[in-house]
Symmetry: C2
Subunit: 245 residues, 2 copies
């Protein structure tokens, strides 16, 4: 039984995230249905981790033990035939038996897109934000996230004590290739992410950028948990770009 790793792009708009949930449409559930149709037996797909409801992914890795051998291009074509249009398998490769898409992940890269002003054409995958933002303040504040912190405090959740390390937060202005609208993109790389963590980070950065809270309040929130009510960015603007092994 070869261990197959897939690279999957999905538009998360209508899914309750990656992870299987009974009676709800999820990407894992949908992919496992396609795998079952292809192989004629139930197949379990192991993804790189949960994604929140509505979040999309460009190259989501998932692996499964193939019940029988099929040529890799045939797997890609057959799965895409059986998947809805908002999920596409871009690649399949044979990986060592020991490979596990979640446990072996070393870091993940998320990208959050904001559009300055209203844009119906971009709204499906961007947070429409009319307020002016002070980019320099946001960039300074972003530095406070870097490093290993107890992000469970920041995220106001209780969780196992595995350390979370944020490696990089990059903020850049761009023009949308589709509409020419001004975008702000926040790219965040970390070893792992907690529930709503990226969206809470982006919400806090936006609160600092619009002057609602100061960078000091953000710095304090990263160390001790938020004392103020930072915003949480909506799921639509978030995309999992890649997972590194």
């Amino acid at each position: 039984m070869p261990n197959i790793k897939l690279e999957v792009e999905f538009d998360g708009t209508r899914y309750f995230g990656w992870q299987f949930q009974p009676n709800r449409i999820t990407v894992q559930g949908t992919l496992e249905q396609a795998l079952a149709k292809l192989y004629g037996v139930p197949v379990r797909a192991f993804g790189a981790g949960r994604t929140d409801t509505g979040v999309s992914a460009l190259a989501y890795p998932a692996n499964y033990a193939a019940p029988r051998e099929l040529a890799l291009p045939a797997i890609v074509a057959a799965l895409n035939q059986r998947l809805p249009d908002d999920i596409r398998v871009h690649a399949a490769e044979v990986v060592p038996d020991s490979f596990h898409a979640r446990y072996d992940a070393r870091s993940k890269v998320y990208r959050y897109t904001l559009v300055r002003g209203h844009s119906p054409v971009l709204a499906r995958h961007a947070w429409e934000l009319v307020l002016p933002l002070d980019l320099a303040r946001m960039r300074r504040a972003a530095g406070f996230f870097i490093g290993e912190h107890d992000f469970a405090l920041f995220c106001r959740i209780t969780t196992g004590a595995e350390p979370v390390k944020v490696k990089r937060v990059a903020i850049r202005e761009r023009r949308s290739t589709l509409t020419g609208a001004r975008l702000l993109q926040i790219e965040i790389e970390g070893n792992r992410f907690l529930y709503k963590m990226v969206r809470r980070m982006v919400g806090a950065l936006v609160d600092v950028g619009r002057g609602k809270f100061g960078a000091a309040e953000l710095a304090c929130a990263v160390r001790h948990g938020p004392r103020v009510q930072f915003s949480t960015a909506p799921a639509c603007g978030l995309v999992l770009v890649s997972v590194k092994y």
Copy 2:
């Protein structure tokens, strides 16, 4: 009664184009409903011309005779409150009484976006095309469209004999700001456009780019009407960028 010109962005995915049709959802019908709610009386909005079902627009101009005077920012805010999320008024200005969004239009700029390969995240506003394309061939072929031609022949429609002049066809490769995917964008400016004209032009350019037909067949089709069955690009990839007066 001041003559007000609006600049409207809309995601055309769920609309049967701009122009009012009984029992069908259109952008004009939806905008006129919002205007009627705002002013308390029926208001007719004159748009810059029809758009095909599913086509989007970034700055669609429409004008109307305002039943009473309202401050321009108040008009923008009040209309946006009354419009669905996939239509947004970006600006309102007072224009001379003689101004008509359709009759005064001097040229229109359309942009067509293709994504190379499958991309669920981009598919709402791009044509997913897996086949390799010869860009140099496409650029040479694009030159045959430039100038004044009887595009009714090319579009296989019968129409009044107003001349259609294509001023510019620009093809460029870009990376999507949202996903990093390879895009091909075809921007076309002309004094006016016939039914499905841009989509037929893009379809023909793609047919030449993939080697299905030669540039000579396209050149002939522009002059005498197509003798071969060129493709028609799907509506989703098409956006009306701007209208010049």
